[in-house]
């Protein structure tokens, strides 16, 4: 254990520089955020992840945001266990009909101001599962969506870039 700890002390950190933010998405987001909510949030956002029917590919890459390479918490972004502690709902999947009510209840349990980030091709339009009797399809048909991060699944870098865009727009005055 000592050797591993020692190496962590003397080695350069694995953490990489943050990716560039998406300017088009930033402009769009700025419109959805008012000044008061920006002031209240400061430089920190708490995220509650909700799997609304994903194949779990998106969850694997969202998980990766916490590893040493991406280190999400350095940006003041962190995942929380309860929607009541969250500013952001990060939703994956084509919203299965069996999960719709749970998603709506999670959304309603999240205090205002709040933002919804749809992650993955399924959240955008149901993806490959669109048209099934068991899926609602588009996430925005169920809850209002502020930002999409597409991809199947989006890479941690794409996720980070999307989240930094969100953070930047909450900071901009």
């Amino acid at each position: 254990m000592r050797r591993t700890l020692f190496e962590s002390l003397v080695r350069r950190p694995l953490t990489e520089a943050p990716p560039a933010t998406d300017d088009a998405a930033l402009a769009e987001l700025a419109a959805s955020l008012d000044r008061a909510s920006r002031r209240r949030l400061g430089r920190s956002l708490s995220i509650r992840e909700v799997d609304a029917g994903s194949c779990n590919g998106c969850e694997l890459e969202i998980h990766a945001l916490n590893n040493a390479f991406y280190d999400l918490e350095r940006f003041g972004l962190r995942f929380v266990a309860s929607p009541r502690h969250a500013d952001v709902l990060m939703v994956t999947g084509p919203v299965t009909r069996n999960m719709r009510e749970a998603l709506e209840r999670t959304y309603n349990a999240t205090p205002d101001p709040k933002w919804v980030v749809g992650v993955g091709a399924c959240a955008v339009d149901g993806g490959i599962f669109a048209g099934s009797y068991a899926c609602c399809g588009r996430l925005s048909d169920v809850v209002p969506v502020d930002l999409y991060i597409p991809g199947c699944p989006p890479s941690p870098k794409a996720l980070l870039s999307g989240l930094l865009t969100l953070l930047k727009s909450t900071e901009a005055s």
């Binding site: 254990m1 050797r3 591993t4 700890l5 694995l14 992840e49 909700v50 799997d51 609304a52 029917g53 994903s54 194949c55 779990n56 590919g57 998106c58 969850e59 694997l60 890459e61 969202i62 998980h63 990766a64 916490n66 590893n67 040493a68 390479f69 995942f79 266990a81 309860s82 929607p83 999947g93 084509p94 299965t96 009909r97 069996n98 999960m99 719709r100 009510e101 749970a102 999670t106 490959i128 599962f129 048209g131 099934s132 009797y133 068991a134 899926c135 199947c152 699944p153 890479s155």
Partner: protein, 501 residues
């Protein structure tokens, strides 16, 4: 072939590579009796238009057969009545197809939570029940019991499902799972799908096992159409499968330790997992290698830069991982949490035909790569890791040994990778046939069965190993404390999406 000679019925032509036999109700009951007596293991049970199929395996020869019973009256004799591992499969079949397993001991719905707007979506598609009925959880009796409902939205970044704990103080008296929340209707989307779309769907049954599913699906198509992918493709498939196994084992070993609040293992294993995914990205252009295995071969060749990258990866893991294993094994506070926790008795593992590390940590020496075996695992060698304690620790050790074996396998694959094409054309126009693929994913054996008609998928059933592991998780938590549930759960790491379909 002793197995299908034993089962009296009509053998169907064009079902490959294993036989399919149509039996009467008596023949079906006889197979159920063999399952119940422990002579066969159940590999799957699924529906079709007006028929039910089940796949059975004889150990240790690993002979496989699919048995079919026609249901002109809309019912068939329940296998679950004699053999409990079939109960959830039959409940799901009833929800989806509307066929009635007569004598099924548990008639509550399983995947249909009452929100689909239609009943029996794969059968006669009748109108939905007037309103969702309240789900009757199994009763518990005794003094000072309290219930803890958890989910479907869990506290972590994980898939949704509901757990109903009944506890006496800290001790779990009963856990009952309620799943189906991520049911996407994959089997209905498969009906009529062209092969390329169907392959992409199969690869999204459970994202952590996307290679295993695509691999099994491709083998099923190739069996149905009687084509053989080139040797190089077989080796590249195995390379992807072993990378997937490595990534998942690293992630889960770390996560199990994290559930015992040992964050350092989690951080270190997370680094190894990320390195594997980056190597996969360099080699095949996708971190999880989605859509890289296709019917007829693979979609991506291994670039020269990829080979060097993989050698670096092997070197790196071999330098770091043994140290982490020592750390795991020599940290008393961690061992205190994993050793003797969540014991799965060998008899239950055998009865349920538990695949993967769940079975192999409880003495069930079964690995689809060994038997029945498939290319290229007949040309490369590895040791199957089997432990018999059946606790969380044993399941971690199976994974540790499998990491070591996967490293060796990758080395062998790189050394012996044949030259040549990476795929052959799949000409399916107008073709028909039935095929089955059976592949060892990181979690256990994945089964894909399909019927191709006029070049498109007519029916496809994908059976996740979790079907036979979820019920066992209910068994192992009994008598343990609530705080040890995350450890037990993570040591199983069953798939919700793969199970709910």
């Amino acid at each position: 072939m002793a197995l299908f000679e034993e089962i009296a019925g009509e053998r169907i032509g064009g079902h490959r590579p294993w036989p399919r036999i149509v039996v009467g109700e008596d023949g079906w009951r006889a197979v159920a009796a063999e399952l119940s007596a422990g002579r066969y293991a159940l590999l799957g049970l699924w529906g079709d238009m007006g028929a039910a199929h089940m796949a059975v395996l004889v150990e240790p020869s690993a002979e496989i057969a699919v048995v079919t019973v026609e249901c002109p009256q809309g019912r068939f004799p329940s296998v679950g009545a004699l053999h409990p591992p079939a109960i959830r499969l039959e409940r799901a079949l009833r929800d989806l197809y509307g066929l009635d397993p007569s004598g099924l001991p548990d008639t509550r719905p399983w995947l249909d939570l009452g929100f689909w707007g239609v009943r029996h979506p794969l059968g006669d598609r009748t109108d939905p029940a007037p309103k969702p009925l309240a789900y009757a959880f199994l009763p518990t009796e005794g003094e000072s019991l309290h219930q803890i409902p958890v989910g479907p939205v869990h506290a972590g970044i994980i898939e949704p499902g509901h757990f109903r704990f009944t506890a006496n103080g800290e001790t779990v008296v009963r856990l009952e799972q309620r799943l189906g929340y991520v049911h996407k209707g994959i089997e209905s989307l498969m009906i009529g799908a062209p092969l390329d779309k169907a392959a992409r769907l199969a690869g999204r049954t459970s994202g952590d096992s996307t290679v295993a599913y695509a691999f099994a699906f491709a083998r099923a198509v190739e069996a149905a159409l009687e084509i053989e992918p080139p040797a190089r493709a077989a080796f590249l498939r195995a390379l992807m499968a072993e990378l997937e196994r490595l990534a998942n084992h690293f992630g889960d070993i770390g996560a199990i330790c994290n559930d015992a609040s040992f964050a350092m293992m989690h951080a270190q294993c997370g680094i190894l997992r990320e390195r594997v995914l980056r190597a996969a990205d360099v080699c095949f252009g996708h971190r999880l290698m989605m859509d890289c295995v296709v019917p007829g071969g693979v979609g991506h060749d291994l670039p020269v830069a990829g080979v060097a990258h993989l050698h670096e990866l092997l070197q790196d893991v071999r330098r770091v991982f043994p140290r982490l294993v020592d750390l795991y094994d020599n940290t008393a506070s961690l061992q205190d949490r994993t050793a003797t926790t969540g014991i799965l008795p060998a008899e239950l593992a055998r009865q349920f035909g538990a695949g993967g590390y769940v079975g192999r940590a409880s003495g069930r020496a079964f690995d689809a790569r060994k038997r029945p075996g498939y290319a290229p695992y007949d040309q490369i060698d590895f040791d199957m890791a089997v432990f018999d304690r059946g606790d969380v620790n044993a399941r971690v050790w199976v994974r540790i040994r499998e990491v070591e074996q996967s490293l060796n396998l990758i080395e062998q694959i790189l050394r012996r990778l044949p030259a040549g094409p990476i795929s052959i054309a799949v000409r399916s126009e107008g073709r028909s046939g039935e095929g089955m693929g059976f592949v060892e994913g990181f979690r256990g054996d994945v089964l894909v069965w399909l019927r191709i008609e006029q070049g498109c998928v007519a029916r496809c059933h994908l059976r996740d190993p979790s079907w036979f592991q979820w019920p066992l998780l209910e068994a192992v938590i009994e008598g343990n404390i609530v705080a040890d549930f995350p450890l037990c759960n993570k040591s199983f790491n069953c798939s919700y999406s793969g199970h709910d379909l």
